[in-house]
């Protein structure tokens, strides 16, 4: 059965398992109708011109893992951050794992979506924010909304600077021959509060995994959110990450995306500036090879005056890998004094690697500063010779130049333990033993 049909018929089975009288259930039923109408996106759509999901959706995925699987912490320890305390929300094959997790209800709520969607004490926040910034016209978002049941729920009340970061890991055990996962996350950070999130998806086998994730972030007045995505999954896993960020006055939200693994990774990152004096930052480092594909589609909607957005994406491609960057910036007529910067730099290490880079600016205001730049090049031969002439072996010299190229973005990581982890992943990806302690 084609995946589209399988998903639609699974929805009926899904309804037996959940409370269909809950107010959010009408959201789900509307969403499945939308997905039924739209189906999976294809390359005829402008937004999917360079990325085909065909090779991903041809697998016969199980829609819900039949059982809760348990994993031993020792076996997955390496995927956690070292030497730092964190809140932990861990899922295994789509189910919450209470043994690996460390949640909190101590004035804050760092817990799971299944609780938030069913318990009355969360209904006020759920009614106010759930599915309020996700794009109802997007087919994959609709698919996720239809099956929204489990994921991360974070609510940080006013005037709270979270004492430690929140670490989210979605493990897949491979107990199903192929599995689709659809985490649904909601993050609400109230006035004057601060939050850091580190998220990753990790399959423990080579059985195909397709994750279609939706995250909504609401950053209220003067709040600060740093969201780190580590995309370093095995080569048989694919991910479509739909993130919607809605910001209020004086808030600052940064999304950092580090893409090294996976078969196909598509990031749909959307920022909506709902008030004045907002700062939005998106940056990323992509280092891929073989026939990997990483696609960054960003959108910043400047809908109010005196706001800023900063985008800096670096990509290094080898083998037959493909990179896509599409950065859309909309500046409404009312959004005067907008500062919008966008930068996308790419290095192709092989003849067979490809990059498609496309800035898309729609500016309706007349007193704005918008700049965009995109480069596609190769590692500088002269620079390589310079390093080698100083005794640095070719493979290390290449790695060093790659690292230097990505350095700006790496420097934006505010958690030293995370920076160290990412540098280690990069060194491994580049096949060098250099510590990159630069």
């Amino acid at each position: 059965m084609p995946l589209t049909e399988k998903l639609i018929s699974s929805f009926l089975a899904f309804e037996l398992d959940i409370d269909i009288n809950s107010p959010i259930h009408s959201i789900r039923t509307n969403a499945i109708k939308k997905f039924e109408r739209l189906g999976f996106p294809n390359r005829k759509l402008e937004n999917w011109k360079y990325t085909s999901l065909n090779r991903i959706i041809k697998e016969d995925y199980t829609v819900f893992s039949k059982k809760k699987n348990v994993i031993d912490f020792k076996k997955v320890q390496d995927y956690f951050l070292d030497n730092i305390e964190t809140y932990k929300i861990i899922f295994v094959d789509g189910y919450f794992d209470p043994f690996l997790s460390q949640t909190s209800h101590d004035g804050i709520d760092i817990c799971i979506m299944s609780a938030a969607l069913t318990k009355t004490k969360y209904s006020k926040i759920i009614n106010k924010f759930f599915n309020k910034s996700a794009n109802p016209e997007d087919s994959l978002t609709s698919l996720n909304t239809a099956f929204s049941k489990e994921g991360v729920y974070i609510h940080i009340p006013k005037n709270t600077v979270l004492d430690k970061p929140v670490e989210i890991i979605h493990f897949a055990t491979g107990n199903e021959a192929a599995l689709i996962l659809q985490p649904r996350n909601l993050v609400v950070v109230e006035e004057n509060s601060e939050l850091e999130i580190i998220e990753s998806h990790q399959s423990l086998t080579v059985n195909p995994i397709f994750t279609n994730s939706v995250t909504e972030i609401f950053a209220l007045r003067n709040s600060n959110v740093d969201y780190y995505k580590i995309q370093n999954d095995v080569i048989t896993s694919s991910l479509v990450d739909n993130t919607y960020v809605s910001q209020k006055r004086n808030s600052e939200v940064k999304v950092h995306t580090f893409s090294f693994g996976g078969k196909l990774t598509r990031n749909n990152l959307n920022f909506y500036q709902k008030d004045k004096a907002i700062n939005s930052t998106m940056n990323g480092v992509t280092i891929i090879d073989c026939d990997q594909l990483v696609d960054h589609h960003t959108l910043v909607h400047h809908a109010n005056p005196n706001c800023e957005s900063h985008q800096d994406y670096k990509g290094i491609y080898s083998g037959k890998s493909t990179g896509v960057f599409n950065g859309k910036i909309i500046v409404d007529k009312i959004a005067q004094k907008t500062n919008a910067f966008q930068q996308n730099n790419n290095i192709l290490l092989d003849n067979k690697s490809t990059v498609n880079s496309k800035p898309q600016l729609e500016i309706f205001a007349d007193d704005v500063k918008c700049s965009h730049g995109c480069t596609i090049g190769q590692l500088d031969k002269d620079a390589l010779f310079y390093l080698r002439a100083r005794g640095i072996p070719k493979i290390d010299a290449k790695a060093l130049l790659t690292y230097a190229f990505a350095n700006n973005v790496l420097e934006s990581i505010n958690i030293p333990e995370l920076k160290h982890k990412i540098k280690k992943i990069i060194a491994k990806k580049l096949g060098v033993s250099l510590g990159f302690d630069l």
């Binding site: 031969k381 100083r390 072996p393």
Partner: protein
């Protein structure tokens, strides 16, 4: 230490060096002079192993071993150092970390342990002060936004750190004012001893007032057309290059 025998080098099929012969022994300073386009920089690049330059014929022997087939890093490990005419700007790597990586790469290639951090730091301080380099400068990105003089000083700083057996200074004097020239020359002279050798490549005689050569060679159209003592440099300064052409 270095024997160049009938060296022919071309770039993209175009012959640049047409049979160079040169013998440099330990303890010596050689100057290679010549007009623009005579092949001076090609000679230095060929000795350092730049793969864009094709050795068509001839041999380069270093400490008795033919190094023609060796990668640039392998030549560096054996003790060859090239001070670049145009040092490359590399944003994102600091001077300190670059030199640390360089030194440890060389030690590792020679089968030695990495240099301990405190020893490294001490050496960096010592050599930086020899070249009158400010410590702030060391944490800046490699050559990025450096003035011409800062770049050259940084090259000699690297030389001081690496202590090569053979240093080739390619147009180290270009872009230097007289004060910077003195600092750089003084640095080179302090590093000079009976066991190492220096090849100074220059268009002008000016640098040779400070780094005094034992031998001067004049390069023209890819060949050494005249060799002599240090007085040859003065002669060239007076008469220009036309008389040797």
């Amino acid at each position: 230490m270095l024997t160049i025998d009938n060296l022919h080098v071309s770039i993209d099929g175009k012959a640049i060096l047409n049979g160079i012969n040169l013998d440099v022994r330990a303890g010596e300073v050689h100057a290679i002079m010549g007009p623009n386009g005579s092949g001076k920089s090609t000679l230095s690049a060929a000795v350092a192993g730049n793969e864009s330059y094709e050795v068509v014929k001839g041999d380069i022997l270093f400490k008795g071993e033919n190094i023609i087939e060796l990668a640039p890093e392998e030549r560096a490990h054996k003790g060859i150092f090239l001070s670049f005419q145009y040092p490359i700007e590399i944003p994102g790597i600091s001077v300190t970390n670059f030199i640390k990586t360089s030194i440890n790469s060389n030690l590792k290639a020679r089968g030695e342990d990495e240099m301990p951090a405190n020893k490294m730091l001490k050496k960096i301080r010592e050599k930086a002060s020899l070249l009158e380099i400010d410590s702030k400068f060391l944490s800046r990105s490699l050559n990025e936004g450096f003035s011409g003089g800062e770049k050259k000083r940084n090259e000699i700083f690297q030389m001081a750190m690496l202590e090569p057996s053979l240093a080739i200074l390619d147009e180290t004097d270009s872009g230097l004012d007289i004060d910077a020239l003195k600092v750089v020359a003084n640095g080179v002279n302090k590093l000079k001893n009976k066991d190492n050798a220096v090849i100074v490549i220059t268009h002008y005689q000016r640098l040779l007032d400070y780094i005094v050569p034992d031998y001067v060679h004049v390069l023209n159209k890819g060949k050494i057309v005249k060799s002599g003592g240090k007085e040859l440099a003065h002669e060239l300064e007076e008469k220009g290059y036309d008389w040797i052409k």
